[in-house]
Each structure stands twice: as structure tokens, then as C-alpha cells.
Subunit: 296 residues, 4 copies
């Protein structure tokens, strides 16, 4: 008999995650009672009582909880305490979740269960960056009355999201300038066919005046007032950086610039793929744990 | 003194067109009284009386008219007869419009004025194809809960729009299959990194089963019932072909397939760029006419 | 029993062609007695007597003959008259060759046999353009002491070879300018991410001064003295156009410019692929003939 | 008066390096007496006596020396001791070189001069990877009788060279499979449109059988006998990894596989660009040192 997996709570990504894990395991979903997308293979559980226990593996959402005690379950009518979930996992069972806090960790560790954070997986960060980049393009296409082809794009930062963005924007035939702090980042940008400008020289460069769209990926305020003053009035600024973002919003408003702070794009724009990416990270963790278990 | 141009009627593309022509000429817009986008350089005329006449050049919209008599002016409160417009053009003036019918031609020819159809320009067809392809991508990104990267795309036809689509989709990292009727079209598709299938062998190929999205560009029904029956239930069909389209809609509905017939994307998704493209075609026509005028 | 095919003469492309046809037919090669590349499946015939006749199909080389009488067979010690080859084909047999002259046609037509010219196939022209573009890149890589990435490339003409070149050069991250005569060609070049310049404005543009490499594809002298005078002394000119080429060689020599007239690249740089491309064109011809035969 | 720079010894990259530095400084070259490429701006010094001393900055080659004492100067007739070079640098002068050994360091440190290793700069490693990738493509184009377009390429490793290779090969329309050890490397490969295979599963995958060309970038023997046994006899293996390389050469020979160990490609295939890349790294070092000097 195949192992029992529980996928608990989460947003639109988690039904897709449950479906993918159903290829190998018997998967129950719980905390998705309001869910619109029905699963084909995963088994819908109205409540925890409907799940045969103890479960072999519990998959918690991303993030696991907003208060440290209750399951993050926007598609559920009920509040599910994490402690109840912890109780239905077997002694040496596996528990995984995303962005695990010490408070959440504690709930499971007192029961002798270790929780693995799948959100720390580098491969998930990479594939999330791709989903973010596609979502950013969707916003750009929706917002701009002009085509992307031939337009001037400024990308700040040269991390994962920027690299994914560059590849997509190149297909559109955009003229891309990358602004970063490190010489090696600028060297990469050149390899990928971009113009480059050192962050320290951004204000005096012509990259700001020319930019039709700015995508920021740096999570601290680098689009300051002096920078924003150089932008064209028609420029669209899409901030992809997590809190606090990279934009001095007050200055942007005063200058009348169009700005969009686009957070959590993978879950919003491509929930099914994003759910599968998390499922893949979970399978990779399991595969590595098995390899270690088999070591002498 | 610079020449007087009139840009009359039209949708959201025409203010942008007027702006671009304003770089060189004195441009009046008329029949855009409800227009939201204000022009910076072009001069807004409430009615024909506000325009100093006779005008050197009259730019009519795309299409010029829906009834053969009245200006196509969705952003105007008033009905403007084409004959009135014809009366304010000088004797040897230039008149251009898009998709000119014999009826429209007649209105001007009786006054000794020839009308040039800018919509017949190949360079406009090419750049319109690019705007269509970007619009098609926007729809795909909005509709699909999955990322484009790695997804299986089937493109039917290998004309301008298909070539523009392939370039963009390649940047996304999609797996593209092109279905066409001619060996040379399939050879081009291979050069552009696509898999290929002859139209006559489409039904028995696995391209339909695998396709996450189908973009049709062929303007006759090639996505017939036997073809649609092979598609995955999750497939999204985006028909980019002009009337009658390429899709047997009734069969698609019966089979429960998601379909979108996306017409006139350039004007809807990228009106500013599309207006500039028409302006560019007009400038090319004028440039060619001047060259001929100067010939002995 | 499968049909008897004869592949006669030709350069290094023809053993590969024979191999590919051997997947379906019994193939004899003749006129390749000095050939280095041995065939695995095709049967080597020392002379015509070794071939069971009459043959169903005879494949002649590209070009068929240089004197209109004798087989073009650079890898053979012997001279093979075309008439002898014509005699071993059965009455309603098929004969195909490349660049067939009236003289060659005559040799077969007097025997009631029609000769089909595979070199007229558009799909072969397309795939040959790809092989030419790859060969051109090889030359550029060999000749230049600089990397292609970031270098300025000028391409004259916007036909098949140019389109194949653009795709490859884009992967290298080169900055490409296309010079052509037609607005629609320039529109295509823009779609493919290139800068553009009208041929009539080439001399006064900065495209010549900046160019590190010029690839010409236009088969008449467009790189005239006034054009060449604007080129950098370090510029490499690779002429890919068939006779008479596009280069005023005398002026280029006087100006001390490095020039390479690269003809027949597919057969030289990628003989195996090029042979397969011809085989594919032949199979397409056969497939179309069969379809017609079966029509009522 | 501008600062005095000495560029001493080195291969074909160093004249280009000297030229680029001549834009800002007075540059003397020494130890290049057999050099074919003449410099335009840099001043040729027959011997050290011809250089006005003390010099502000001394640029040593890559590597600096093969015996730890004498300048690496393949284009010089004379042996130049490093100690003599050290003597003509001023007290607080700058000395830079590539792959500096403790022995070399000592020669300068006893004179109170610190030597900076430009080869440790990440941006140089990145741009060198690009030059290596272009050189690898040149080899592939020269060696293969087939086109790259549509061919199956296996790349082992997912470091800098692999990323540069993928971008170029994508332009050619090759089908690329990346084999690596880390899930995140495979995720990147997918973003860049490649198929992927875990190194631990390489032998049982079909990637080896299908590969027309294998590019190895991993500097330890991963192409072992069991791996090589699965390769097609027609496969070309290009090893780009530094010593000891990634190939069990003995097994490859026994199996009759074509292999090329391509070392030091940047200096061989693109000496001018590679020289400029080193010059750029040197300018970056100087720029950073100046910034620090100005700090309080």
C-alpha cells in the first residue's frame, strides 16, 4: 500500500501540488473546502477525521501560518490548529512546510518531529524566479499601450529573477540595460546581450531617461528621489522585490510616475506550475533523505 | 510654413499616429472628441470648421468607414460624412486610409483625388504581426494557470504572425511545434528551433495531445472536429486568424475546449505602437511619392 | 523487394545522401571510387556493370555535369558519360539532379525520361541557407581575433541566408544591423532585434564605420568603392553571395580590407547534413509524385 | 603627465591589453620583441633600459612565470628576470599579474610591493568563459560534418562556461541536455530551455546515445568508461575542463571516440578580446583601489 500524504491548507498552488504527489502517493487534501479547482486524483477530506491516520507525511503551506498556531488556509471555512495536524503524523513521519518560523518548528519538535523547510531549496528559488518573471511580463503587456519589442527596459539587480527576465525580454526583442553593483554581474549581463550601468553611476547615465519600463529586483530602496527624477514621465516601474521593495513610493507618487509593486506573482499568475515546483522540491528532499537512509 | 495634415476619426491608435506625424507637420485631429488620450503636439479640432483649409493631406482611419459614407469614428459624438472631409482637401492633396472600399474611393475620385491604402503596405503587415503576437502572448499569460516555459505550443500556419510568435515563445523557453502545408514552411520552422508536422498528418501526430496552447493563424477552418477530438481537455485554443477564423467553434464548444477568438489585437493591446506603425507606413508612402516626383 | 536507387557522382554530400535513402530503398553508389567516407548501408558499385538494372530511380549530383555530357564526379577516377547512366534507368523511371541544364535534360528526354531538378525546391534553398550561415560563422570565428559577442555586424540583404545568420548571431550576442532595399525587409529585421539602414542611406550611416564584420548576401556589387571607403580598416568582409558576389574586389584590395568570398559552404562545411537535406528534398518530391499518382 | 605603465611579456593577448590601457596611461611594452601584432599607441621597448623609471604600474602576464623567477614571455628572444622588473617599479607602485604563486609574490614583497592577482577577479572569469564558449563552438563547427542546428548536444556541468555555451547553442537551434549534480543547476538549465539529467542517472539516460557532441566543463573524470560506452561512435567529445580534464582518455581511445582537449581557448581563439578583458579587470581593480584611497 502506498504511503499516506496530507496536503493541508494553502492557496491555489496546493491542489496542483497535491495532484502531482498523487502520481506516487495516496494524497489527502484538507483545509481546501472552499477550493474552486477540484483535484482529480488527490482525495478531498472535509476535515481531519476523514483521513486515515497516522499519516506518513504532512505537507504544510507557504507560509505555514500567519499567527504561528493556525494553518494558513485561505480556502477553508474553518480554522485548523497546527497542533491537531501534528497529532495525526506518525512518530517518525515527515513534515514539510514553507517559511517555517521557530514557533511552528516548536509545535512539531515537542512531538519529536522535525520539520523541513522546502522554501529554502535553491531549485525552488530558481523556478519561482522564472514564474515571477513571466508574471512580470504579463503585467508589462497589460499596462503598456506599446509593444515590448524595441522598447528600452532597465532591470535593477542581477539575481535569479533578472536572469529569467532577460531571457524572456530578449525573445521580445527589447533593449535591456542592467544596473548592478558588482562587476561580475555586469559581465553576466553583457554575456546575455544587455547594456550595463554600475549602480553608482545610474543617476548620471542615460538609462533612466530612455527607460520605458523599469523592473526592480533589489529589496532595498535604490529607486530614490534623485533616481526617479531622471525617469521619463511615461516610464512604468514594476517592483518585484520583496519587502521593503526597492522604490521610494512617496517620491514616485509626487513625480506622478506609474508604479506597481508586484508581490507573490508565482502563486497569482501561475498557481498550477508553482504548485508543481513545490511538489518537485518536496520530491527532491525525499529523494535525498532516502539516499542518506540507505547509506551505511 | 509646414504642411497641414488632418487625422480624422479612428480608434486609440490614431492619437499616437497624429503625435508622430506632428514631428514633421502641422497636424489637426478631428472626430476624436470623446478621446481620453490627449495629444501633446497635434492640435485638437472640435469640428471641421476649426481646421484651416484646404488641407495638404488627410489621414483616414482603419477601416475608413463601416457604411461607405460616414467616417469610422468611435471616439466622436458626431457623425462625419466622408464627403465633407473630401471637400477640405486641396486639389492635388494626398488622402490615405486603411482597407479602402470602392465606395469610399469613389467619394474622393469624383473630386479628382486619389486615395492610397496604407493597409496594403507590406511593412505595416509585418509590424502588425509583431503587435498581434505580443497581444497573443498577453492572452496566453492571462488565461493559463501554468508558466509558458516548458509548455507545449502548437502553431498552425507559418506566416508573419507565426514567425513573430515563434521568436517570442522561444524566449519563454516553450516547446513549439509548427503545423503547415508547405515543406519550405516546415524548413523555416526547423531553422527557428521548432518541431514540425505536415497539416495532412496533424490528426495522427502527437502534437495535438501534447499541446497546452494552440495558436491558429490560418483563416479557414483547419481545427475541425477530428482535429479537436485529439486535443487535451486542458488545451487553450487562441485563434488569431481573421474571418472566418480557423476553428470549428461548434465542435470546440461540444468538446468543452477553451477557445478565444482574438481579433484586432494591435489596436487593443498596443494602440500607441500600432498608431506609430501606421504613421511610419504613411511616411514611407510619402517618401516614395517624393522620390517619384523628383524623377525627370 | 525494395526499389533500386542509384546515387551517381557528386562531392562529400552524396555518400550521406545515399545513406539516408538506404533507410527505404536499395541504394547503389557509383562514381565515388576515390571516396574516403565509406557508406554503411548503401552498396558501393565499382562501375555501372555492378548495378542490377534497370534502376527505378537515378540521383544525379549538384551540379549534374560541368560539360553537359559527363557526370560531375570529383571522387571518381573514371569519366562516366551521362548517356550510360540514362541507359540503365527503366522506362518510366525517375531521374533527379541539381541545376539541370537543357543539354542534360535532352540526354534523358530522348529516352523518354523526365528529369526533376531538386535544387529548385524551396525547402532545400531554406535548409541550404542554414548550412551556409553556420559555415559563415565558422569563418568569422576562425578569422577574427575578437569574440563575436558584443561585436558590430552588418548584414546586407534580408533573404534566407540573412535570416539564418541573424538567429545564430543573436545567440552570440552580436549587435546586428541589416541593410536592405525594402521597408518590409527592414520591418522583419526589427522584429528579429536588429538595427536597420536603408541601402540608399548606407554610405552616410555609421553602420559601416562601426562594423567589425560585414556579411554580404546580395549577388550584385553593392559594396562599391564609396561604401568600402567608410569601413574600418579592421573590418572583415565575408561575401556569401553567388556570382558575381556583392563586392568590388579591386577597391577592397586597394583599401587594404580583409575579404573572403565564401562559396558553396554547405558542401564544404557540413557535407553530411547537406547530403541529408538533398535526400529530404528528393523524398518530398517522391511523396508529392505518389500523391498525384493516386489522384483520380 | 600621465602615469607610466609597463606591460611585460605574455602571449597574443598582451598587445591588445597594452593598447586598451594606452587610452588612459603612457604604456610601454617589453618582452614582446618577436611580437607580430604591432601596437599603435603603446610604446615598444626593446629592453628595460628603454623605459623611463620608476614606473607607476607593472602588468605581468598570465601566468606570470613558469619557473617562479623568469618572466613568461613567449614572444621575447631574451629571458627577463622578474627581479629586474621589480626594481623599476616605484616604491608605492602597483603590480598585477595572473595566477601569482608564493614564489613570485616573494620577489615583490621583499621590495615592499604588493602584487594583485587579476585572474582572481570574478568578472574576468565570466568574460573568459564567454571566450571559451566561442572557441568551443569554433572547434565544433570545424570538426563536425553536420550542422549544429538540430543536433543533440550534451553539456556536463552548469558553471560559467556551460551557461555561455547554452546561450550560443540556443541561437544555433541545437537540442541541449545539461547533466549536473545539483537540482538547482538543473532548474537553471530548464530556464534556459535545456533538457536535464542528474549526473547520477547519466549512464541509464538516453542523453549519451543521442549526443552528437559532448562538451565537458567538469574538471574531474566524470566521462568514465561506463559513460563512454553508452556514447554513439559518431559522437565528438570536446573537453573544456582544466587539468585533469573530465575524460578517461584511455577508455575513449579504446572505444575509438573522437576527443579534443581544448585548453586555453580565450588566448588562442580570441586574443584581442581576451587581452581587453584582462585590461578591463585591471581597470576595475584600479578603480576600486582609488575609491578606497579616498575613504577617510
Amino acid at each position: 500500500m502506498s504511503e499516506i500524504y496530507i496536503v493541508a491548507g494553502g492557496d491555489m498552488r496546493f491542489p496542483a501540488l497535491a495532484e502531482q504527489l498523487s502520481e506516487k502517493y495516496t494524497v489527502y487534501t484538507v483545509g481546501m473546502d472552499k477550493q474552486k479547482i477540484s483535484c482529480e486524483k488527490a482525495i478531498f477530506a472535509e476535515s481531519l477525521e476523514d483521513i486515515p491516520c497516522p499519516a506518513d507525511c504532512l505537507i504544510l503551506p507557504l507560509p505555514v501560518s500567519s499567527d504561528g498556531k493556525t494553518l494558513n488556509a485561505p480556502f477553508s471555512e474553518k480554522a485548523v490548529p497546527l497542533s491537531q495536524l501534528a497529532d495525526i503524523v506518525k512518530a517518525n513521519g515527515k513534515v514539510m512546510g514553507g517559511m517555517i518560523t521557530p514557533e511552528v518548528k516548536e509545535i512539531f519538535s515537542v512531538r519529536g518531529i522535525e520539520v523541513t523547510d522546502y522554501f529554502k531549496r535553491e531549485e525552488l528559488a530558481v523556478s519561482n524566479a522564472l514564474a515571477t518573471a513571466e508574471g512580470a511580463l504579463q503585467i508589462a503587456l497589460e499596462e503598456q499601450p506599446t509593444i515590448i519589442s524595441g522598447s528600452s527596459i532597465l532591470i535593477t539587480g542581477m539575481g535569479r529573477i533578472s536572469k529569467a527576465l532577460i531571457r524572456i525580454l530578449s525573445g521580445f526583442g527589447a533593449e535591456i540595460t542592467v544596473c548592478a553593483r558588482k562587476y561580475s554581474d555586469l559581465a553576466w549581463a553583457q554575456i546575455y546581450g544587455c547594456k550595463t550601468v554600475m549602480l553608482s553611476k545610474l543617476v548620471e547615465s542615460d538609462a533612466l531617461k530612455k527607460a520605458d519600463i523599469i523592473f526592480n529586483t533589489v529589496p532595498h530602496i535604490i529607486l530614490t528621489e534623485p533616481v526617479l527624477k531622471e525617469c521619463s514621465r511615461k516610464c512604468l516601474i514594476i517592483d518585484l522585490a520583496s519587502k521593503p521593495g526597492g522604490l521610494d513610493i512617496q517620491s514616485a507618487v509626487q513625480l506622478g510616475l506609474r508604479t506597481i509593486w508586484a508581490l507573490s506573482l508565482p502563486g497569482k499568475c501561475a498557481p498550477v506550475s508553482s504548485g508543481r515546483m513545490i511538489a518537485q522540491a518536496i520530491e527532491n528532499i525525499l529523494s535525498e533523505q532516502n539516499t542518506h537512509d540507505h547509506s551505511p
